[in-house]
């Protein structure tokens, strides 16, 4: 059982963030928006064309591309 990332999640799945991978502007933006280790979230839906995905986190809805979600490592 390998490491699971947010990009692997499907609508309805939820979990807690283990850590944010990488150190660039994207990661900083995500953390500023409340996407950081220890935060719980749930995937609401995926856009019709398969990308981006919409999550519910800290009481609001956030959309991010799968490529961006792939830097959010989830707890097993």
């Amino acid at each position: 059982m390998g490491v699971k990332y947010l990009s692997d999640y499907t609508p309805g799945e939820g979990g807690t963030i283990a850590r944010i991978v990488g150190e660039g502007t994207l990661q900083q933006r995500l953390m500023e928006m409340g996407v950081l280790e220890g935060t719980s979230l749930e995937v609401v839906r995926v856009a019709p064309l398969g990308d981006p995905m919409e999550i519910e986190i800290r009481g609001y809805k956030l959309s991010l591309r799968k490529s961006e979600a792939s830097c959010v490592e989830m707890e097993a």
Partner: protein
């Protein structure tokens, strides 16, 4: 440098900075606090618009752009930080920062609050949308939150005007308050480095902290320009030391703030579980995997149809008004020595005619602004970006570019202005550069004439009209060219790292009519003033080139014809003949004008496109406003300049003339390949002074406006060339 402002005195205007996350009702609050007297302007060197208003004669409010954080990664984002620190030239430091917060979304909103509280300014927190919070089952203790933060907290429902007087009172009191003492503390890894750095580089605490945490950011650039490369090196070394201890500084910052925020919310707010909100239920359909896109497409079509439906009659009204104005002015000259003279022509044809031909698009522009404002205010705009993102990634852009490009199908001006919502400057400029390729409604007259005249009126498979297909095809030309062009720009000129698409999907809310109307009025005003001045100048110049030299011999020749007619004809026959002579005279003067000389001059360049000098001239004349081509062609072919493409009679007349037109050696000028090449040229060329003026305003530079014009002209030329050459080979 952190400047300390002198305390507000009796004589100086106090300044209040209004800042907050997007979608918090900040605009509504700003409008409610300042009434309708806003002033807009520009901060030098960036595309951020400066917006200020007066709370009363003593207190000025500065509306800063919505943002999630003070970590600035671009000059545009840095403007707010610089303004709050008092580092902007000619912008004195504000005396107070008011942070507006969405009460139904407290956690993320408080992040910005904690940053603003570190600036060294007094702060007031406005808990807006208190009603939405209630509906979401959230109860907040204002006093609790206020004592936890150490700053006043005021609840408001801005769109209902509730809480505003309490807020105004608080503002007046807290203008003179002390800066707060933040109750959260940097973790050791960071505070240790900050202590060393701030003792070395004095008086720049906030910027230094930001430069340390935000790697290679605008703050670092600011530090570098003040303290040089060694400061940058010190920062880099400090950063690596922090990273070596486990986490990058940005992660430590986020952890510190949210840890404090989570604790404060636990202590001072309560949430009762509610079922899916109305907003959630709406989204279940609107962003549904299958229905979502259909509904979206349906909505877009509906919006466009409505715009054309509503704008139509109003445009006719504008047309009539301007025609009436021309008549009235014409009457001033009737019987006088100046009749039919230069001044007469300048006023009637040049100014009224020219300005009218562009203002006639104002109704469409206003309706488009209105729809865009409604979509944005109600929250659907974000869903549009969400649905379309995958598609737009083909061009290297994001879902944010969809509405600007879509709007450009009606008119590029609102489209280019709508690009303001695109945060990333490179994406924004690419969108602005590519938006005019979407065939706007001004191109329709050209498509109609050329298709009706030269595309065979046959039906494919018995029902698909070939003419209709070609017409629709022209729209696709723009789209199909835009994709590789956008892609190319993003790979070359506007190259840069892919910006994050992280996007908040705000809860749906009823759009606030006042906010929408104010936005529409401001946009309309901006268009009329800015584009209007340029259009005015261009109209006069074009008129001049068309009118002069206005040779006397030509006038004489037709005056003779008029006298003859008056002796031999009567009543309606006479009137018709006189009108005909007017058109013939106009045509003769036109063919003798400087413009015509220019047309002849450039003809060799356009011959490979299959164009003769008349087409070249009409195209040149259409550069400031493309719909002018119809009236120009009308004049050249002696039909007068008042042709209406929608009138069958006028259309037939013009088409007859075009079909009969020949080169000196007798060959027909017009053919299907020529018609197609003309349409392709118009599809791809930016023949709209108003759009260029808007691009200049939105990019705050002539560089991009000029580049826009240049690249589209080249693109149009090459496109038309290929169309004609290939078309002639096939056909």
């Amino acid at each position: 440098m952190t400047a300390t402002a002198s305390p507000p005195s009796e004589t100086r205007t106090s300044r209040v900075a209004l800042i907050g996350n997007p979608n918090t009702g900040k605009t509504t609050l700003f409008n409610a606090l300042t009434g309708l007297n806003h002033r807009t302007g520009n901060y030098p060197g960036v595309t951020v618009e400066k917006k200020t208003g007066m709370l009363d004669e003593r207190i000025e409010i500065i509306d800063l752009p919505g943002t999630y954080s003070l970590a600035a990664h671009s000059p545009d984002e840095m403007v707010s930080v610089d303004l709050l620190l008092g580092n902007l030239d000619k912008e004195p430091r504000p005396d107070l920062a008011v942070v507006i917060v969405d009460a139904s979304n407290l956690a993320r909103n408080l992040y910005l609050v904690t940053q603003v509280m570190e600036l060294g300014l007094p702060v007031i927190v406005v808990l807006n949308m208190a009603d939405a919070a209630q509906n979401a089952g959230v109860t907040i203790s204002e006093e609790g939150l206020s004592s936890a933060l150490g700053v006043p907290v005021v609840s408001t429902i801005a769109n209902r005007g509730e809480g505003l007087s309490k807020l105004k009172d608080n503002i007046k009191v807290y203008l003179k308050a002390e800066a707060p003492n933040p109750p959260w503390h940097w973790p050791d890894e960071i505070s240790k480095e900050l202590d060393t750095l701030t003792s070395q580089y004095r008086d720049v605490d906030f910027l230094l902290t930001r430069a340390l945490i935000d790697e290679a950011s605008a703050a670092e650039t600011a530090i570098k320009s003040t303290f040089g490369g060694e400061a940058v090196k010190a920062l880099a070394e400090a950063r690596s030391r922090i990273k070596a201890q486990g986490r990058p500084p940005a992660a430590l910052e986020a952890k510190m703030r949210y840890a404090w925020i989570d604790e404060a919310l636990r202590n001072h707010t309560q949430k009762i579980a509610t079922g899916p909100s109305a907003s959630d239920r709406a989204d279940a359909i609107l962003t549904h995997r299958f229905f979502g896109t259909f509904l979206f497409a349906g909505l877009m079509i509906l919006v466009f149809m409505t715009i054309f439906e509503w704008a139509g009659p109003i445009m006719d009204l504008v047309d009539t008004t301007f025609a009436y104005a021309q008549e009235i002015v014409g009457r001033w000259f009737a019987g006088s020595a100046l009749e039919g003279g230069m001044l007469h022509s300048l006023l009637v044809d040049g100014i009224i005619g020219g300005v009218g031909s562009v203002l006639i698009f104002l109704p469409q522009i206003l309706f488009l602004f209105m729809f865009i404002a409604i979509l944005e205010d109600c929250g659907y705009m974000a869903r549009a970006a969400f649905l379309m993102d995958r598609l737009l990634r083909f061009c290297g852009l994001s879902g944010h570019s969809f509405i600007p490009m879509m709007s450009s199908f009606a008119c590029a001006i609102p489209g280019v202005m709508a690009a303001r919502t695109i945060a990333n400057p490179r994406d924004r400029i690419t969108t602005i550069l590519v938006a005019p390729l979407m065939s706007c409604s001004a191109r329709i007259p050209v498509y109609v004439i050329m298709t009706a005249a030269f595309v065979p009126a046959i039906r494919i498979g018995g029902f698909l009209s070939l003419q209709g297909l070609v017409f629709a095809g022209m729209y696709f030309v723009g789209i199909l060219v835009a994709i590789p062009v956008a892609f190319l720009f993003k790979r070359t000129l506007l190259k840069g790292p892919t910006p994050p698409f992280v996007l908040e999907l705000p809860a749906y809310k009823r759009p606030d009519i006042k906010t929408v109307l104010i936005r529409v009025l401001e946009a309309g005003k901006a268009f009329v003033i800015r584009a209007g001045t340029i259009i005015f100048m261009i109209s006069v110049i074009i008129w001049g080139l068309n009118y002069f030299p206005h040779a006397d011999e030509i006038s004489q020749r037709f005056e003779t014809q008029r006298t003859e007619a008056k002796t031999s004809l009567k009543a309606s026959v006479l009137e018709e003949r006189l009108a005909e002579i007017d058109n013939l005279e106009a045509g003769a003067h036109q063919r003798n004008s400087y413009f015509a000389t220019m047309g002849h001059f450039v003809e060799p360049a356009f011959r490979p496109l299959g164009w003769d000098w008349k087409i070249s001239m009409a195209t040149l004349a259409a550069f400031p406003a493309r719909e002018v081509i119809v009236s120009t062609l009308g004049i050249i072919y002696n039909l007068g300049g008042d042709l209406d493409v929608n009138e069958e009679k006028d259309r037939t007349l013009l088409i007859q003339q075009l079909k009969a037109s020949t080169w000196p050696d007798g060959r027909k000028v017009f053919s299907l390949p020529v018609a197609l090449s003309i349409m392709v040229f118009f599809a791809l060329c930016c023949q709209c002074g108003a759009t260029i003026a808007t691009i200049r305003r939105e990019t705050n530079s002539w560089k991009w406006a000029g580049f826009s014009f240049a690249y589209m002209t080249i693109l149009a030329y090459v496109g038309a060339l290929l169309t004609y050459q290939i078309g002639s080979l096939i056909g």
